[in-house]
Symmetry: C2
Subunit: 451 residues, 2 copies
Amino acid sequence: MKPSIPKGTRDFSPVEMARRNYIFNTIRSVFQNYGFKQIETPSMENLSTLMGKYGEEGDKLLFKILNSGDWAHDLQDDELLARNSIKLTNRISEKGLRYDLTVPFARYVVQHRDEVTFPFKRFQIQPVWRADRPQKGRYREFFQCDADIVGSDSLIYETEIIEMIDQAFQRFGFPVIIKINNRKILAGIAEFIGAADKIIDITVAIDKMDKIGLDNVSKELLERGLNGGQINKLKPILMLEGNNQQKLETLRTVLAESEIALKGIDEMEEILRYIANSDIKNELEIDLTLARGLNYYTGTILEVKAVGVEMGSISGGGRYDNLTGIFGLPGVSGVGFSFGADRIYDVLTMLDKFPAETATGTKIIFLAFDQRGITYSLPLVRRIRREGIAAEIYPEPAKMKKQMTYANANNIPFVAIVGDDEMAQNKAMLKNMLTGEQSLLNIDEIVSQIK
Amino acid sequence: MKPSIPKGTRDFSPVEMARRNYIFNTIRSVFQNYGFKQIETPSMENLSTLMGKYGEEGDKLLFKILNSGDWAHDLQDDELLARNSIKLTNRISEKGLRYDLTVPFARYVVQHRDEVTFPFKRFQIQPVWRADRPQKGRYREFFQCDADIVGSDSLIYETEIIEMIDQAFQRFGFPVIIKINNRKILAGIAEFIGAADKIIDITVAIDKMDKIGLDNVSKELLERGLNGGQINKLKPILMLEGNNQQKLETLRTVLAESEIALKGIDEMEEILRYIANSDIKNELEIDLTLARGLNYYTGTILEVKAVGVEMGSISGGGRYDNLTGIFGLPGVSGVGFSFGADRIYDVLTMLDKFPAETATGTKIIFLAFDQRGITYSLPLVRRIRREGIAAEIYPEPAKMKKQMTYANANNIPFVAIVGDDEMAQNKAMLKNMLTGEQSLLNIDEIVSQIK
């Protein structure tokens, strides 16, 4: 019976690791280029830190760690026999695995408030764990790549995040649409038509305009409890068209009486002004249907979609007003963004956009026919390694076919074959595994050939 | 009340992260230079994979994860009321956090035996968790950096590991002693004196020779159950002196009748022969007192100590015969090595050997007096970032003192100050924060100055 791993978790093979490292390194390098500083927090947090932060469903999805030692000893008969799993969990578990990077970051900021200088630009690339039902593309252990700036409400930071998104996907080599919205505008729309609790219904309706048209959308809104007058007022927003500037102008006219909407429009306009003289290559598009994170985002909302690929959003973020209030430090505003590494991996795979160097590690391997050949090869391998080139030596004088199989299975692009003739001439037979070309070369020639 | 983290765990600040990344990157780069391929395994493994692999004490130190859902529902009255924590754990927990990287690697090799080509050179840099009592230098979550080659018993791989150790510590910039021993020699010594079960007592005795002398060591060995004749036979080994070659010659003479010892001596000699024409800079020393991992190492044993620093071993490894037998795949021999990242961190700190670039991220920050200055700075910051230089802009026209405090707190080596005069001349005032020097420069001059 083969051993296995828990469902929803993954082993990563050397090729997968090389590709994942490529993604993480690209994102890390962009974050650092913009002055973000990396932190890491422990995999486990106290349950008091985690519970109640992700809603009732989230509490259930936390992986809880059983206390060490004789944890059952002090439990009372009645609480045992009640078999109340939730209550018993509180008694036998004090720690849980982190569910996201945001709550631990908030905890970090409060715990280290005396060491941190605001604005604090941090990034964090670490796994998180959720006891979700595993399914295609949804794992119980997955990495998040978050950047946040806390302690400032300057819209310069929204701008930097948009530029970082653009930079990252330029480096990944596929086009994206960066969608932007503002919670304040959504709130203003709802306020303007007198339906403050209907933000979600409104964004859903706007989203459906393309597919089912104004009449059907109006019908749905009626069913959802809006009246004719409200739907009439909503019409210019449902029909919103044009480029970003035109959309903002329309909104400014229609929502002229909503203070909160005007604030949101001002914010959006300032960001667009900063971006206008940047050199971003990907499209930035106002999209009023963006409604992610409405329970914590308070200003800008961002989302990224890959162009021409059937896939949900591959990254997202937004501005929040009160990151750390729950830990006793109110008034810390911030804006953050998270790259969806698994989704990016999938898009790069679909589009076959992984750089060639992620397919291989070792550049050259020495293969010998006998022990003397191995001893002869050792200093040559060392020489190549000193040049910073990954090199191997097949460790035994096995059959040449077996050695070649090893080189092929490991995608090693060059082999250097060492037999009596080669040793007699102080050389090795260098074979390019892609083209099949062979040439008898000395070590200097080999180095310059494979470099 | 400040939030906190579970005892034995750590937050890593930006400076600590930069230093840890330096250590991990150095090790990774050495591993890759020698043709090792990275894999990662899930943080959680099935408890059936982990239990029984680390002894009874290890089973207790595993962090167990409570099953999701209504885990208490199916428990019987009698098992609940028995309050047997160990038995109950089996009923309510199926997963645990990995305790080391070796068992998950063994599980990986067996699970993926059809994809893996042997010899398989893998490395793995990931955290592990142990419910140990936390104390100075001992954490409940810490990283291991392991490289192993499985599926070959060639001593070329011992040689490569010794060269990697040497390379890594050359890059870290402090000298180490690489100690080597061989389990077969220890077994041969015990066999030779007729005390096969006394390997540990013998190594302890050899270790004490320096401190307490032959007479006292003999006395202790008597107390531990050896007789006078045995101690007499052991004497030449207790008194072993000279360089590696001389030590091996003595051992070969003294242990001439032990087949297993001679095998170990042959192995050691072959490795020393390979190493002799390498260019390792650190000392490789035969040390018969090395007795780590005697319950699984079967040949070479390696350990690294920093020279001139009061600290235990900072890295170690060895050869084992049967990595995967427990998962049903017998006969997989291998040799592995683990860099002790936390200890290396401590040595680098003590010796003040961290490279300067690990102290800072952002290279330059733009500071402006007003909104116009911020807008003026944006394209300049972008230009610098495009050069691959980490740059920031202070996002608000705050008091200059506050902005300078931010630059200082973040160890940013250059600030570019933008006032009316600077803008009028299409320049900025570049200040070197280390020297205090200031000069009025255009953007090209700034780029070349800070590069």
